[in-house]
Symmetry: C2
């Protein structure tokens, strides 16, 4: 990951990874289908190697869905705007047994997104000995176009 | 908000605000107290003008708590590492009726945090006419020290 503040040495401990994903140009219909989105998000968690604990989804009137999948490793959320063909997803994981990019690859295809944007944040940065905390989030940003997921 | 890519003109539509907050040097005890954290997060949502819909919290063994508050305006999550005196929070809101910084101010004090770091992301950026999407997340980062919350 590239640091926003360009530190001269890498942090010794990073407690969590936070993948912030934007999906634009999504397929019609899917963004307003609560059951399809719930199934999709649970599948994404599993494909990333995460363990779903609970899922809570809510459909708004006249349109749009918000959902949270609590996983043993942290959380995965989605908020959709069907009128903009747009979905906002974030995927927070701790430990080294999950692969958030697998969730992204699956979701990009399942949502039929024409292009997406990813930002990866390192959460809880501790430099040097335990207890000495860093205060900068680091992250990298990437765009994905058609066929580049 | 400052754009990471420094566009020459501001986006015309931003669908959501995402506040990513790191709290370091938190008070002992509170980060492992599920009920206290649940109450604190519900209070934070209300102080920001958000409407809590559901709260799901889980305590890990031997320590640490994860929690999600689903709000009508999106979500508020927390993950704690008592052994690092650290809490990771994110607060996603849509619309213009919520004030995430009020949640931050409350949480910083309630957690007894010695210093914090905030990153504010604009989610779902649409430039120009509806349907024409931007692909860059924009954000601003700030550090807060003792007494500067």
């Amino acid at each position: 990951m590239q640091s926003l503040s360009a530190p001269t040495s890498p942090p010794s401990t990073v407690l969590g990874q936070h993948l912030i994903a934007e999906y634009y140009g999504c397929a019609p219909g899917v963004l307003d289908d609560l059951e399809a989105l719930k199934e999709m998000m649970l599948a994404a968690a599993q494909k990333a190697g995460a363990t779903p604990v609970k899922a809570e989804f809510h459909r708004f009137m006249p349109q749009g869905v918000s959902g949270v999948v609590i996983i043993a490793e942290s959380h995965l959320t989605i908020h959709t705007w069907p009128e903009y063909a747009y979905a906002a997803i974030d995927f927070f994981t701790c430990g080294h047994s999950t692969y958030p990019m697998r969730a992204h690859e699956f979701l990009s295809q399942a949502l039929g997104s024409s292009h997406s944007h990813l930002l990866t944040l390192a959460r809880g940065i501790f430099d040097g000995e335990k207890g000495a905390s860093g205060t900068e989030a680091s992250g990298s940003a990437r765009d994905y176009g058609p066929g580049k997921t």
